[in-house]
């Protein structure tokens, strides 16, 4: 016989949730559909399990869920901290390296400058102290300033020096 009931129509019939007029008429006249309906209904009753499901201790169950949630939250938080720490660490290392380099360069430069100045000062002092040549005086300090500060014996000595010098040397100077 054509036009058998559809699966959902069987369910409507089993559950009494309203089979159409045509469906009901078909069921009355079709032995195949009637048999399928009967066996499906029997199976539905058999599948119904009214046996007691053994229940756990609900307080313990709730406690275990809460504990597990908390431990996962802590794990997640520490994992997040670990992951955010990673990009910072190289940046911090680079910054420290850069600062060290700047400090070292500045230190070296300062040391070099102060060393150079000390050497120059020593050389000038040594040159002035050890030289009797008046030209050294003239090059290192202002000649006329020095002349104005000379005392009587030094002025006399300078005058004698100039008079004793050959004329050609003085003319060349």
């Amino acid at each position: 016989m054509l036009g058998h009931l559809k699966a959902e129509e069987f369910i409507d019939a089993i559950e009494g949730s309203g089979l159409s007029e045509g469906g009901r008429a078909h069921l009355e006249s079709c032995a195949v559909c009637a048999e399928r309906l009967r066996s499906a209904r029997a199976m539905q009753l058999a599948v119904m399990d009214d046996s007691d499901v053994p229940e756990p201790d609900w307080n313990e169950f709730r406690g275990s869920v809460r504990t597990e949630l908390l431990s996962r939250a802590i794990q997640r938080e520490s994992a997040v901290r670990r992951w955010t720490g990673w990009p910072i660490r190289p940046a911090m290392a680079w910054t420290i390296c850069f600062l060290l380099l700047v400090c070292l360069s500045a230190g070296t430069w300062y040391w070099h400058l102060s060393n150079e100045a000390a050497v120059a000062k020593t050389v000038v002092e040594e040159t002035i102290d050890n030289s009797d040549d008046p030209m050294v005086w003239a090059t290192s300090t202002s000649f006329f300033d020095e002349l104005s500060t000379l005392e009587e014996p030094q002025v006399e000595r300078l005058r004698l020096l100039l008079e004793s010098a050959p004329k050609s040397v003085l003319a060349r100077q």
Binding site: E8, E15, M43, A46, M48, D49, V53, P56, F61, R62
Partner: protein, 194 residues
């Protein structure tokens, strides 16, 4: 147990509102809301899990995993369906995955039980028949079994099952009917199991 399933109704809006309020409280850090949510649904979710594994300890583990997954994803719960439907969906998917992952173990059990001579089935006690049927249920595809259990033993409405599985109501009804037919065949011809 009432054998008529026509009476099972979708969740009322009052329950749904209460759930939404509890979810809001939990998300704002109110820990008693956690207990209230658990008390509301722990039995139902545990029962669903038990239907799949039929073992108290395994069902507890499964239910615990379901709740952990649910609470962890609660901030992303979009409230397009009720909390109950959402929880059942998580439970159903989790249990189906569990069954798929451990299908070998289930096959081994059923191979053993399949060796029972069918000729003596008529003499088995009521409980034994029921146990046998429960074992046969394991031969259904996991999704089909889940739908059948949700409807017949958890008495969820077709609308709820359709929402949680993302299928139409007629597909769910058809799935229930074909599952019943397949079971009937398995009972009649035990050799065709698996």
């Amino acid at each position: 147990m009432d054998t008529s399933l026509a009476g099972s109704l979708p969740m009322t809006s009052h329950q749904s509102d209460a759930d939404a309020a509890l979810v809001d409280r939990y998300l704002s850090g109110d820990m008693p809301a956690f207990d209230e949510l658990m008390i509301r649904y722990e039995r139902q979710i545990y029962r669903v899990c038990y239907r799949f594994v039929e073992n108290r300890d395994d069902a507890m583990d499964l239910a615990q995993e379901v709740f952990i997954k649910a609470f962890e994803h609660l901030p992303s719960f979009r409230r397009e369906s009720s909390l109950k439907t959402w929880l059942y969906r998580i439970a159903m998917n989790h249990c189906i995955n569990h069954v798929k992952k451990h299908s070998q173990e289930f096959v081994e059990v059923s191979e053993f039980t399949g060796s029972v001579n069918p000729s003596i089935q008529s003499h088995l006690e009521e409980q034994e028949k029921r146990d046998h049927l429960r074992r046969l249920l394991k031969h259904l595809p996991p999704k089909q079994k889940a739908i059948l259990e949700m409807r017949i033993n958890e008495q969820l409405s077709y609308e709820e099952i359709a929402t949680m599985s993302g299928r139409s109501i007629s597909t769910i009804k058809a799935s229930v009917f074909f599952a019943l037919e397949k079971l009937r065949k398995l009972v009649k011809e035990p050799g065709k199991q698996g």
